[in-house]
Amino acid sequence: MNEPLRPADFTSDQEVRWCPGCGDYAILKAMRQVLAEIGRSPDEVVCVSGIGCAARFPYYLSTYGFHTIHGRAAAIASGVKLARPELDVWVVGGDGDFLAIGGNHTAHVLRRDADLNLLLFNNAIYGLTKGQASPTSPIGTQTPSSPAGTSEQPVNPPLFALGAGASFIARSIDARQKHLPEILKRAHQHKGASFVEILQNCPVYNDGVFGPITDKQEGPETVIELEDGAPMIFGRDRDKGLVFNAAEGRLEAVRVEEVGEAALARHMPENAAQAFALARLAAPVPIGVLYRRAGD
């Protein structure tokens, strides 16, 4: 294995069985690329998942893989890592897997800060069981189990991770094939538990739930890409930015020309209060490393 590895080296012989157009394909592509770039042999990488569409992931990688039971991937991965600390362990699951049945394991793994990379494929729906509302479904989501629309406040995954004491919290988007691999790599570099929320489109049961953010045109207007140390700027023309309203502890979108670039908040991933504000920010949707514990 001295030649550089290629994504194909991380591709198993199993036929991929997600629905056509599923965002999971893009995540798989990014992941294969990242594993190749990281460069460890597929034999030294383990991918553990629960149950769900997302959780089929391990079958499509040529690494060691364990498709376990619903909600328990983080707990099982904890055992794997305790037994074999030298291996790279990735944990993959959907919003149901990680935040409904598995919410407690997710929280405790983050608290313990075990050196696992947790990838949450958030499509805001239970895909595999045919489209019921999940804990991340926005209020009003109509599904077979909520025909009148859901009324429960959804979980905010980065906020949940922050509340649990996570040391690394990031977000990316399935379709962002430049951004996503970058974030996966940073998650891998982080020592301790890395929590990555990947906004993933489920064209069958929840098409477009993340609105225009995956859209080529609208995306740049509704998403802000965070860069360590840089002022928080977004927009196709990089004409908008975020300022920190200290009184209310909120980040607010402004036009750069109105306040001047110097007035914009800078992204300091080690600042927990800023991370809190970023986690609560709905528009624009922040992507990148939202939080990284100082010293970690």
């Binding site: 056509p20 149950i51 409904a100 595999l128 069981t129 804990p135 077979p144 189990s145 025909p147």
Partner: protein, 621 residues
């Protein structure tokens, strides 16, 4: 012109089986549903079974994307959806490849020949075109250009090609209607209502339907002889023909749950976490109508616990799942046993262990249901025998739960949940009045005092003035319910909890043979969804003069009264199950009789023919 006389001959001898198979996107289930309705309208008995792919939306044309629908209908009592098909319609090569084995030799095989081109064959993993082979030697092959015919029929309409192709299921429906002499009018009416909002879809489907019908006529396809109307006995008993509906086991169960709310005069709180195949029931109840509210919990443990909380608070708590979920609920069920709260737990069984084969039926959760709790924690277990029995079983489960203050487990399965037949809606008001079962506190209220007959403790919900009390999962002193570590008290409480369940055997209907005589060479004991297949196999054996009878258990725990007496009338007892012999093991242990298991653990329902052959072998050995 094709000669369909062979299949006609077989149709005269018994009921007919039709199977549609195509891609998930081909509208096979809709086609099946409409054909079922017309069968019901023709006053013909039937049973259907949809066969979905496991994947959500597999790539078009692949083998794992094939969706199928099978219906058996005919003059006799229809007990299953049929072992083998008289007619198979295959919409593409993958559908043909994966379904041909279901078609009887000599059966009518209709294929959409236009789909048998290079890409289609390749996706199905076929190197050669089977239509070029000798299919016609074994089947009455009828290759039609269904897609092309549909497109042609719709050419005049102002719709896109993609939409037009989608109408091909209605084209096939028209053709099949002609074959079985059905009247398309009702379906046209349904199309008009269903697609009222979209004129072009409405027109497309209606046009396709008519075109298929006309095509069959033009082709001078020999129609199957009319299958006589066979409203089942009893249906006409009360004068005017009662309303008939098509219900799957899931729908019947949902209706049963609503009936419980009505007859118990209490809210039902149905708590669940989605899982295949139990979620369909959650969906069926999601509207919140009829006194049944749903609560989608964060996991199965929370669902079971919320249901327990609801029951504690005086509502009827229900919780449903499939195998993995039942495993997760075991600790919570122990609490309900210990606190003696009514609770209904539904397990729509699927193939295990672990995640297993989620869409496939199995009966392998029986021992878990009976024994799956730490400590001595007996729980009654029921199982419906047919899709429509899913209604009655819920009412019975509630009757037991309330009258004995106990959780009750109802074991359905993936087959029962999806299979459908028509029925006459039951008269809910004539059902037993469950509200009357509630134990009212006497003077000197004690939360763990007991009714002398049922041994039930009183069900006193929070909010009841003057009766505030505390309960919990630690051992309780008989009567007062205070925490007690007293050895004799514990022994007595364990005994009382067991006796309370054991007494149900005496209070409820005794076991009864459902087919055949009270004595004979062979007693076939079944439970759950295998009812139809066993009954049919036993009927056939009896028709051949064999001394075989069928006993079907709807109550698995405690075993119903009189079962030992029944068994003593037979030389041999065989217990067919879709597991490795779980009921057989229980019967052996309880009755000390050499009950023989007859097992099939393939994730498939029994086929009547296989079962019959196996039973024949047992008769001989």
């Amino acid at each position: 012109m094709l000669d369909t006389s062979r299949s006609r001959a077989s149709s005269r001898a018994g009921p007919l089986v039709v199977r549609f198979a195509g891609d998930s996107g081909d509208g096979i289930q809709l086609l099946g549903a409409e054909f079922s309705k017309s069968t019901a309208d023709a006053d013909t008995g039937f049973m259907t079974f949809p066969d979905y792919p496991a994947e959500i939306r597999a790539p078009a044309g692949t083998l794992f994307g094939v969706s199928a629908f099978q219906i058996q209908f005919g003059a006799d009592e229809i007990l299953t959806s049929g072992d083998a098909a008289d007619v198979l319609v295959a919409f593409n090569p993958a559908a043909l490849k994966s379904n041909l084995h279901v078609l009887k030799r000599g059966g009518l095989l209709i294929v959409d020949k236009g789909t048998f081109e290079r890409r289609g064959l390749q996706k199905a993993g076929l190197d050669e075109n089977p239509l070029d082979g000798d299919l016609a030697a074994s089947y009455q092959l009828l290759p039609l250009d269904i897609t092309a015919q549909t497109l042609e029929a719709l050419a005049a309409l102002d719709i896109g090609r993609k939409q037009a192709v989608r109408a091909k299921n209605f084209w096939v429906l028209g053709l099949i209607f002609w074959l079985f002499d059905r009247d398309p009018a009702k379906t046209e009416g349904w199309i008009a209502r269903r697609f009222a909002a979209d004129m072009s879809l409405r027109e497309a489907n209606t046009t396709a339907l008519k075109a298929g019908h006309a095509f069959a006529e033009t082709l001078e396809l020999a129609a199957f002889p009319g299958v006589a109307p066979t409203r089942r006995a009893g249906a006409r008993e009360h004068g005017a023909p009662p309303a008939r509906e098509i219900v799957s086991g899931t729908q019947a169960m949902a209706l049963g749950i609503r009936a419980v709310a009505k007859r118990a005069e209490r809210d039902v709180l149905y708590c669940s976490y989605p899982i295949t195949p139990a979620s369909a029931l959650l969906h069926a109840l999601a509207s919140g109508e009829g006194g049944v509210r749903i609560f989608q919990a964060e996991d199965e443990i929370a669902a079971a616990c919320a249901a327990i909380g609801a029951s504690y608070a005086g509502a009827i708590g229900m919780t449903a799942s499939s195998g993995p979920g039942l495993s997760l609920k075991t600790e919570a069920l122990g609490l309900a046993v210990s606190c003696e709260l009514p609770l209904i737990v539904i397990d729509v069984q699927r193939a295990g262990p672990s995640t297993g084969m989620p869409t496939k039926p199995e009966q392998s959760d029986l021992t878990l249901a009976i024994h799956g709790r730490h400590g001595e924690a007996p729980v009654p277990v029921l199982a419906p025998a047919t899709p429509e029995d899913c209604f009655a079983i819920m009412v019975e489960a509630a009757e037991i739960a309330i009258s004995a203050m106990t959780p009750v487990i109802v074991l359905s399965d993936a087959y029962l949940a999806n299979a459908a037949s028509d029925w006459v809606s039951p008269d809910i008001d004539s059902l037993p009045h469950l509200a009357g079962l509630v134990q009212h506190p006497q003077d000197g209220f004690q939360p763990f005092a007991r009714d002398a007959e049922t041994l039930a403790r009183p069900w006193v919900a929070p909010g009841t003035p003057g009766l505030a009390h505390r309960i919990g999962g630690l051992e309780k002193e008989a009567g007062s319910g205070h925490i007690s570590y007293d050895p004799d008290n514990h022994a007595e409480m364990v005994r009382l909890r067991a006796e309370k369940i054991a007494r149900l055997a005496g209070r409820r209907a005794a076991a009864e043979i459902s087919t055949g005589d009270k004595t004979g060479d062979l007693l076939v004991v079944g439970w759950g969804s295998t009812y139809g297949a066993i009954r049919k196999a036993v009927q056939e054996l009896r028709a051949e003069g064999r001394a075989v009878s069928h006993l079907h258990l709807r109550q698995l725990w405690p075993l119903p009264g009189g079962i030992d007496k029944i068994m003593s009338g037979f030389k041999k007892i065989v217990c067919p199950e879709l597991n490795s012999g779980q009921l057989a093991g229980i019967l052996r242990g309880e009755l000390l009789l050499p009950v023989e298991p007859l097992t099939q653990v393939t994730g498939q329902p029994f086929r009547v023919g296989d079962l019959k052959a196996q039973l024949e072998r047992r008769l001989e050995s």
